[in-house]
Amino acid sequence: MPNSVVIVDDSRFQIMQLSRFFSETLGFEVAATGENGEEAVELYRKHTPDLLTLDLTMPRLDGRGAIVKILEEFPAARILVISAVKGPLLLDCLALGARSYIEKPLRFDKEDFVRDFKSSVEEILRSP
């Protein structure tokens, strides 16, 4: 049975890119996609996926708030931050329990980027 992922990003274009990458390259089943933090919490509850990818700057509840809520309810949730933010906010999210991060822009045309993306996902899935 394939691993499942919920993708949350406020850009529909990036959701499309990420969905394609997860399903075509990583063999995931994309369980659902959302566009803000509140949806992230609801969709996680509904699907309890193997992986949640989360943008940080989003309307309604932002990524950081979503991480707090989700981990409160599901301490073992595997969250991968996918964001252009790299400062103290990202450090906070990782300290709160996000497993790893991918730095935007999404460069699926770059071998290094794809390799790092794959390693990050594999690492997260290996960990409990």
Binding site: L90, L91, A95, R99, S127
Partner: protein, 510 residues
Amino acid sequence: MAAAFLDAGGAGFLLLLPDGTVAPAAELAGLLAGAGPAPGPRASIGEALGLGPEQASHFAKWLDLVKRRHRTLRWEKLAPLAPLLETAIGTDEEEIRAPLSYRKLLDGRGELAAIVVIAADPLPGRALERKLEEERHGHLLETRDVLALAANPPETAGAFLVDAKARLEAARKDWDAWLAGSDRAGGSPAGLRDGEGDSPGRRLFRELHMIKGNAGAFGFENLAAGAQEAEDLLEGLKRPGASTERDANRLARALGALQSRFEELQRAMRVIAGEGQEAMARILRWKLERVVAAAGGIEAERLDPPLRNLVESTRRLAFLSPAYLARKYRNLVERLAHSLGKQVAFRVASNTGDIHPESFARVDEALVHILRNMVDHGIEAPEERKAAGKGEAEIELEYVAQDDRVFLRLRDDGRGMDPEAIASRGIELGILTRAEADRLDEVGKLGIIFTEGFTTRREAGMVSGRGLGLALAARNVSDRGGNIYVFSRPGEGARFAIELPHPGRKRLPQ
């Protein structure tokens, strides 16, 4: 300011301990052996790297995350999150950013012992930059030399090169003489020291000094710098107790370098003045002018026919083209204008392609004085011209040969002169009385400017203004049997005319 842990080259590393303080690189071995940090007061990472409070707190967060996650999150993910990825080294003038990288250091138990903060050695990059800078500087000097060639009339530059060539040859001979000298055997360059008489050393010094001076005067900075360098080395050799072999070799190299700079200049000269024959022809013309000028001073009529023929044909040898004249005086006008912060376009017009050089040789002084006066007094400053709705300033030199007369007309489109104001100033200066002034018409009043002591300026200017220039111009013209005229109205520029007997049509031999 460079962080203290960096060496002079901007490289180095320090150890960031888990508690946020730093240890010097020397403690690395102890940490690896699991000895733990040495006791004693320690600086915080913020102090060591000169961080502001915000950056320091960012750093603390990062260190905290590293401590918690270094086992579960790849270092490739953690290291790029460090807040400081480069540090400034070098002085205030030359700030260089040295890239910082981070490595984690685990002790024997797999615990985080320290993070090694490494400043990459930026020296290779800096050395390259310095080399490029030197090359740029060299190119700049070479370019200046070429520009100096272009700025000097080819005849002048050619004369300089001929002179410099002779001096370089002489310098080489003096050098060889010294090398062959007996005092060389003793290893002491006594022959290069200031001694009695005309030693090779003294001659060499003199030639180098002259090359330097002349090159500097003509703007050949690269050549002047080369001569200076050789001169300095020679000075060094002259000091008692100077080491000989090595310094002598350095001087030999410097002389060689000077020679190649000179040859470079010669090549450039060929490019600018024309290839081979043409360049020679121009230099020849310059020499010819002197012969012609000398011939001009001979009363040919009194000579025996063969000599008279020689003088007369010599005089006719060097007819000038308007382009030649343009080059000669344009240079003067542009330099003057530039020194006064003005811009002037200079044009030459002529009703004949054969301009008799004597006309100019005779009144060259007058032309120079008038041109100086026009640029200094006549042409307004750029802002003033703009305010008056005038475009770029123009000065025109016109050569008109007509029957047995030659007219040299100079025209500017500057601020012009007011005959009444000239007259009043003349009276003020005691040159003439009111009654005398009243009897003069406009042209007569303007003519006052040719009187010695007349000046409109209270203080002498850099270029002209001592009240002598135009008086000298007038005297120069009258000495040559000519007349000088001026006409002007306020705001309408000034026109000067020099009328001379036609030098070629006096009494040509039949």
